[in-house]
Amino acid sequence: MGFARGMDGDLGMTDLRKLRVGIVGCGKIADGHAEVVQHLEGAALVAVCDREPLLAEQLAVRYGVPGWYGDLGQMLERERLDVVHITTPPGVHLPLTQQCVAAGAHVFLEKPLALRLADCRDLIDAVVAGGRQMSINYWPNFDPPAMEFKEMLARGVVGEPVHVEAFIGYDLSGAYGQALMGDAGHWVHRLPGKLFQNMMDHIFNRIVPLFPDVEPEVHAFAFKRRDAVRGDGTDAMLDELRVVLKAGGVSAYGSLCSHARPVANTLKVYGTKNTVELDYNNRTVVTASAQKYPSAVGRLVPPFQMASRYLAQGKKNVGQFRRSEFHFFAGMSRLLELFYAGIRSGGAPPIPYAEILRVAGVMDRVIEQVYPASASEGGAA
């Protein structure tokens, strides 16, 4: 069923009709968005668009989407969309957002939000000035264990964060990595921060919410661990990133690692009351055991405590699987439910804009330090 706008052109709080959703940019990640949106109760994926019409066609045919376009202006004009998911390379996020907002659509963007902090600011300003809402696909932060961690934090289980370690692995021989390494002209190679810029949102969007609201110190270094044998544009890409940060009384390490196995995806928060480790891949969040009993006996107990905590996590995951809540993109589903609910109610978006900008600010600082030449020249993706 189509959505009809109210007299003021906005969605009413009680309007339960489905939001009309479109996607612009029909590359790999668009599949994930289509997969999630088609199963959301309050939304209908009605159109997709790519400047390469054959790509738009294949996405539409595979997901049974009624409309496909080679021109965003046409899609916006004909489909009267409530929300547009922008899944193009980041270099065009700003103009596409401006176009969507001008057509009255809210926007949901893939990370990174734009090439530079300044563009991110302009993008959010355009959304706010147009009276629309935006969010960014920080989906791992909305996966079930991440939501559980936020609750633990709110309940005071962790206490005050003292130190944070965020680690993401990357597989250069995986499906995404091969696409990147097999094509020196791939848009990721043209980003000022190359591979890191495409991935490090997921490092800093875990750290920044745990920092006090002050400008953080950022010390980054990076290197290339693989051998440079290809003799093409891919050789310029560094593949190991380490960042040390400090804001107020909280410090953090952030790592992007392309060679360690298994390819991990974790967050460890050392708090004044407890230390908590969150494993995004294995969907577990556990507090570290403390030694409560003296001497050798005290050292015997914690492994069993940890085992029982992991067992409890496993049981919880089995329950989610049985209830069909254990999808790969469960976090994106949750994030979109919250975003769409905010659109319907006019409430706050699920990720504060200030937080998105702080992440973008840290990324700028990292790029300046690890790719100083491209940071000063600017990049085009």
Binding site: R62, A175, G185
Partner: protein, 343 residues
């Protein structure tokens, strides 16, 4: 006549170049995406000093690179295609790349009016789901009605072939389409999905006693070259399978004997169909929590079991260069020392 071969550095492409040379074609432009993978072609060139083999690096995703390498060519054999990757990438490298090539061909043909295009399509483009078990698959078998329900490879190959027919209709160049079955040989995959799949460390033998539509890579290349050079082949489709085909069970038995022993679990067709319905139903109910890797549609298409004909190909003079018995022996000898590639 100068002949352009796309995907010339690939598993099939190298053999196409060899068979062209064997048929006396000595002016060949070999298109590759990455010339660092031209070692095989350079070895062929070294063995044929009388031939003129040019190596050109072109990314078919980039239309601007294509026009110049078509200059002076009277024929294009399009063997480049994506076999793996994300759906968008496979579509880019099979369909969008083909559209870019066709645009360049159309532009050149409008000037010279002498272009013949040869497309290496696939069995996957044919709609076998609707056929009964044991039905004959030949050039009159209609195209898939819902290739997107089957797999991305079939979908991309069908859409690619449609584009070629659309462009031929519009621009009137000569077009010959070949639809190979399962191409095998040294350097290729050890198992077609038609034989079975490894799932959680167990090899499920799904093909039972179905005939495999095998074509040894050299025989397939020979078929492509014979059809490409046959004057009356314009507008024709040729299915490519070898003689004396073996069944899935025979292939697996020979593999175990000649390559390595392995455990396999035979899954009868009725059980596979039952499981496919269950998997599809669960995937739908759980909103895609587990992907529908088996569906009744896919199962019918892949493991329904058909007969295959190469009669039309033989009418234009094709004969297998290597017998199936010899082809399997050569492939298995290579597989003994080649690790199996991940799919």
């Amino acid at each position: 006549m100068k002949i352009l071969v796309t995907g010339a550095g690939g598993f099939l492409g190298k053999l196409i170049v060899e068979r062209l040379l064997a048929h006396g074609q000595t002016d060949i432009r070999c298109m590759l995406r990455d010339t660092s993978k031209a070692a095989g072609l350079q070895a062929i060139a070294a063995r044929s000093p009388e031939a003129r083999l040019e190596m050109v690096a072109v990314n078919l995703r980039n239309p601007a690179e294509i026009g110049p390498v078509l200059e002076g060519c009277g024929m294009v054999i399009h063997a480049a295609a994506a076999l793996k990757g994300s759906p968008a990438e496979m579509f880019m490298d099979s369909v969008v790349a083909s559209r870019n090539l066709l645009d360049a061909v159309a532009a050149l043909h409008q000037e010279s009016k002498t272009m013949r295009v040869v497309l290496v399509s696939s069995f996957g483009a044919m709609g076998v789901s609707a056929l009964g078990r044991g039905a004959m698959v030949n050039e009159n078998t209609p195209m898939e009605t819902h290739p997107e329900w089957r797999d991305v490879y079939s979908y991309s190959k069908l859409r690619q072939e449609q584009l070629f027919w659309e462009y031929r209709e519009k621009f009137k160049f000569e077009l010959v389409v070949l639809r190979p079955g399962v191409i095998y040989g040294p350097g290729g995959g050890h198992f077609s999905n038609r034989v079975g799949l490894s799932l959680f460390g167990t090899f499920l033998h799904l093909g039972g006693s179905n005939l495999l539509p095998l074509t040894y890579v050299e025989n397939c290349a020979e078929a492509i070259v014979v059809a490409a050079l046959y004057p009356g082949a314009d507008g024709q489709i040729y299915n490519v399978v070898d003689d004396d085909l073996v069944s899935s069970r025979e292939y697996l038995g020979l593999y175990k004997k000649q390559v390595k022993p392995m455990r396999s679990v035979p899954v009868p067709y009725f059980a596979l169909m039952w499981a496919s319905r269950a998997v599809e139903g669960y995937s739908r109910r759980s909103k895609g929590q587990l992907p529908a890797i088996f569906t009744p549609y896919k199962t019918q298409a892949m493991w329904g079991g058909n007969k295959f004909s190469n009669a039309k190909l033989k009418t234009i003079g094709w004969r297998p260069v290597i017998s199936t018995r010899e082809g399997l022996a050569r492939a298995f000898a290579a597989f003994r020392v080649e690790p199996e590639k991940a799919k």
